[in-house]
Symmetry: C2
Subunit: 532 residues, 2 copies
């Protein structure tokens, strides 16, 4: 990727100039002449990162540079990249496993939250819940790390035409499938725009020829009838599916009016799948998201990783860094040449350090967020057999927000649904309840959409809330003005011999991509300094 | 499924009555009161099929009823279902493997077309092309057979935001990604409808309140600015992806005008994913589509399957059916109680039989179709590393029509692209060429979209055309007026002791679902007759 970055970069600058001068047409033409797809420059998806290499310098004679890092994705990635050049890294991880918020819950796992609430996951073999990150877009460097580390991937189903939409507050009496809602919304939008065009409302906006092209598009897009009106479509679905001769199928009836469709608010969910970070295809590691930190840990060397090591003090000195931590009830200290502080900023802000007031102010300016998920394991995969939903997300205006159907184990005996994935006040409201009460509330909501099997088939559950998770205490962060705002400048460079890394110091907060690219930045800067 | 079908059926009839009487609102409300999702009736995706069972009758004493069937999906499914009740089935298959058009090409396979053109597949281990069916929608019974037969599934990528659209004839100088084209089309459509609404063009169509809801939808759907105009969006993509602090990303530039967007014709591809049979999610068996016929063949019993058996005559008699066939140069005959003639109708029409003129007319009325695919194996998965395309379909107005990126083997060393999947005249044009010339033409076209690696990384190729495939001679069929038109009535019932089955006798022609449901119909009728 590094080479592609450099090569693509120069082409990109050239094309940007052409684009600025001549507009899209000129740029496309130039690209054509160059034999470039408009997105061929996307080879260069990110600024070049050149990983440290064993041949970069000889560490012999002065001893390997020692670096202390954290145990989340940013810390592990830092140790992994530095390790390529022979740095002697130690990973200090406060929790009992590395990976940070990349946490996959399986049967036998025990969680204890900051209030001492203990849960024992009783999920079956093969069932898991990715409590933290659950999806990877194609363009993110997380994909490259999966390739490099040999972590097999499969599709994560971010969008499924058969999943439901249910806006109870908007007065919907029953859920509708995505495909049905889309057919209705796109149908009426197309009909309305066709009518307006027909009335001449766009005569000043676009030419007659463009209007004709638009009408052609709308007819197809909205599945409009001869008179350019929408009266339902087989895209809505069927109550009896088309099958053998004699069974042409029975279309789903009860086409709502345009007014009913707009009032239902289902259209608000459609733009989700256009997002640069949410558009399908998305991926997940086969077997659980924590295959990534596990692979990183293996590559780093498990002997370098100390779990249960809670950092209590970071002292930057002219010739090195002291990191004090507690481990098994004892206080220990490690002396290193450098430190990449990859703790969450909210935790680092509560840790003693001598990095200065500006650093402390910046850390304190990183706002925390609540988010929670509940894993509901079922005795059967009734959503597949009864509802024909093989993965995907049901969107609601209920307090559970999203329901995720599993993107793995199709046709297996059991399956695990994420019964809520919610944020902010909704997450806090669930977090206040006991695990049992969270389950009962989530199930009562889910029954409204799926019927009684949502309750009767339930086999096991575990809920996880990030603000209540020790040593993390947040799901992600919000940095006012973004990570490049002046107040955060002290975190974007070294404080003496201490570097900072984490997804919060990126433009893709809450994505592993942010942690990886932030780590690469710290590694690059540290390595350049050592080489200098 | 049978039970669900019966139960769902009664609910369905009731709801249909409510729907007819009270409209959508009443129906939704009733469903809510019943605790039913609107699509809970979709439990009953198809009319109840009750598979024959071993307890249905005792075959002892009169000998097992003998049935002869064909070796495609319809034939294998017939033998499989009848076998559950102990029928003695023989599968006669003209080709050297069963499965019919469900044909997965792997390294080592040899194909010979009707003109004697021989191809030897030199694909690497693990690489394959599904020359026939390649995808399965969630709702089709093919999914149920995969579950029942233990055929593992994975997502087939029918839609990918990162795949390309390229309309050369429309004057596009370079491809655009789906996500970019969607952002532009939806952006301008939203802007135009917002303008029309603002001008009062919809005042007679929808209420002011609905207009406000519509405007809210359009702003989000089109990613419109404050003044409800479209001026690009991050949904289009980036030339430098957002990453660590300091790298906010550079948006893909050169936003085309509305006129340019409509003229490009990219919007014509968007409705594909709304189709009831094409909407994501779609699935494929892990390892190749022929895992389905292989599993069926195992379940039927390989000793019951005679490959290389070309049926030459079917004679219906009062007390049985004689089927004559050639096998290894010899003519053989099998006497059976019944026959399910699951040959393609165009082949059956050329086979001697005494089933009557109406049957022959019906068979001759089934029109055939051309379709072809070429598998291009590459030495690297450059579409993943360089283009960030992990599966999906690039749509074009070139003569290759569709390009399929593989939905399996991500991050592997090699990969296989379907370089064209085209129909009709385009397929015929390629079929006329030598395999080498087909490859050269397809590659020359693909280079326009992907650049030179499309040529330089090529390792192996094989093209397959269904009209040129012996014993099949068509990709699928077209029945004027559908399979329930009067002319086809003789095929939808028994001709004496001969039943007909095949996807052509369904409302989902060219889908395995059609073959399965058609087989179920024949099996049900035959079994009911035997039981009577």
């Amino acid at each position: 990727m590094a080479e592609a970055g450099v090569r693509g970069g120069s082409r990109r600058s050239f094309l940007k100039q052409v684009g600025a001068a001549g507009g899209a047409g000129a740029m496309f033409a130039t690209m054509g002449a160059l034999g470039l797809a408009p997105t061929a420059a996307a080879d260069a998806r990110e600024p070049a990162f050149r990983a440290p290499r064993s041949g970069d310098f000889t560490l012999k004679g002065r001893g390997a540079a020692k670096v202390v890092v954290g145990g989340g994705i940013a810390g592990l990635a830092s140790a992994y990249e530095l390790g390529k050049a022979g740095y002697d890294c130690t990973v200090l991880e406060a929790r009992d496993r590395s990976g940070g918020r990349n946490f996959t819950v399986r049967g036998g796992d025990v969680t204890v939250d900051v209030d001492g609430v203990r849960q024992h996951a009783r999920f079956s073999e093969g069932q898991y819940m990715n409590a933290g990150p659950g999806r990877i877009p194609q363009w993110m460097v997380t994909m490259d790390y999966c390739r490099e580390l040999g972590v097999p991937l499969e599709v994560f189903t971010n969008t499924n035409a058969n999943a439901y939409l249910y806006n109870e507050k908007a007065g919907m009496k029953a859920p509708v499938r995505y495909r049905t809602a889309k057919a209705d919304v796109y149908g009426y939008v197309s009909e309305l725009l066709a009518k307006a065009t027909d009335k001449g409302a766009l005569d000043k906006e676009i030419t007659r020829a463009d209007q004709e092209r638009l009408m052609e598009f709308l007819k197809d897009y909205g599945d409009l009838g001869e008179r350019m009106t929408y009266s339902g479509s087989e895209r809505r679905g069927f109550t009896v599916d088309p099958a053998e001769a004699g069974v042409p199928g029975v279309r789903l009836g009860g086409v709502p009016s345009a007014s009913e469709v707009f009032a239902s608010g289902v259209g608000r969910y459609f733009s989700f799948e256009f997002g640069y970070d949410q558009a399908m295809l998305m991926f997940q590691p086969v077997g659980g998201m924590d295959r990534i930190p596990r692979a990183l840990a293996r590559a780093v060397g498990v002997h370098r990783i100390r779990t249960g090591a809670v950092v209590t003090k970071i002292t930057d000195r002219a010739d090195g860094v002291s990191v004090t931590y507690t481990h098994g009830g004892r206080t220990e200290r490690i002396e290193a040449d450098y430190c990449i502080a990859a703790l969450p900023p909210n935790i680092l802000a509560k840790t003693a350090h001598n990095l200065g007031g500006a650093v402390q102010s910046a850390l304190e300016a990183c706002r925390t967020f609540s988010a929670g998920k509940i894993g509901l394991e079922y005795k059967s995969r009734w959503w597949e057999s009864d509802h024909r939903i093989y993965g995907g997300i049901t969107e609601t205006d209920l307090d559970l927000s999203h329901i995720w159907y599993p993107s793995y184990g199709h046709h297996g005996r059991r399956g695990l649904i994420v019964g809520y994935y919610n944020y902010g006040a909704q997450a806090d409201a669930y977090a206040k309840l006991s695990p049992q009460a969270r389950m009962e509330r989530a199930v009562a909501q889910g029954v409204k959409i799926h019927g009684e099997k949502y309750r009767t088939e339930l086999a096991a559950h575990l809920s996880h809330h990030w603000r209540q998770t020790p040593h993390l205490e947040t799901a992600w962060h919000s940095l006012a003005g973004g990570p490049d705002a002046p107040v955060f400048a002290p975190l974007n460079k070294a404080a003496g011999r201490v570097y900072f890394a984490g997804d919060y110091l990126s433009h893709t907060d809450a994505w592993q991509h942010g942690a990886f690219t932030s780590a690469r930045k710290a590694v690059g800067a540290l390595h350049a300094r050592v080489l200098a």
